[in-house]
């Protein structure tokens, strides 16, 4: 039951990351289109922080996903080994 919850969290992280990236991009583009003090300072500080946080969330989501995949694969290998052991186990005397 733990697996689906991780999946949901990861997708939420990805969507949040996408939304934050859009916000960061909007701030950065504002400065490009209107190069006056306020937009430039906002873009070079807040815009970059938002973008970096969004990218961090994306990396986190991907790491969670890869770990989940690795865990599932390990579980599959473990169960395969168990079947293999069961097949080759000597019958009780």
């Amino acid at each position: 039951m733990k697996l689906p919850r991780v999946r949901v969290r990861m997708m939420v992280l990805l969507r949040l990351s996408a939304v934050l990236t859009l916000v960061g991009l909007a701030l950065m583009c504002w400065a490009v289109l209107q190069p006056t003090p306020l937009p430039t300072i906002v873009a070079m500080s807040l815009g970059q922080v938002v973008g970096t946080v969004a990218f961090g969330m994306f990396i986190l989501a991907i790491v969670i996903d890869l770990r989940r995949d690795a865990r599932a694969r390990r579980r599959l290998i473990d169960s395969g080994e168990k079947i293999h052991q069961d097949l080759h186990e000597e019958p009780p005397a």
Partner: protein, 203 residues
Amino acid sequence: MIAIGAALLSAVILVWFLLARPQLTRVTRVVLLMGIGVLPLMTAGTGNLNGYNATKSRRFCGGCHVMGPYAEDSDNLKSTTLAARHARNPHLGEDNCYYCHADYGMFGTVTTKIGGMRHVYEYLFNYRNMSLEEARTSIHLRGRYSNNTCMQCHSTQLPSWQAIGDHKAALEEIRNDTTSCASAGCHGPAHPFSKSGKQEAQR
């Protein structure tokens, strides 16, 4: 325009991801890496470069209302102030504020930018609501205007420069910064309207 192009491309990817809600396959991950990582980095990089260049322009400096008269004076083709005459020099042109107020040397760009952030702080907390008249008499340079800034272009080495009597007489004082190029007896203040305002206020 690279910044805007990359941002638009990234926005298309992100809006697609948010609306279409695709399965998280390897292809989706790579596309998202482009949309959240690579393309926004391009926007940030070129945007930073653009922002850095923008902060050097006179339009940027004149963006705060208290700097308006200074920028207008530089824009004025009929003005004979030191600042306006430098603005008409094609090598300085639109960026004349920066070239005359920048720190030079190895870390000059960094210290100039840090100083610029201080200007923003001062503007936000002290000068934002100040009237132009009040600003004209109260705004002043932090510290002394160094001759080293002038000497970036006017090296004091050329014979034609040294041929001027006053230059020759005060050569050492000019080089060691004890006599300012912008002092009243020499080339005068670069923004005389602000100085005359100060004198009027002191009367």
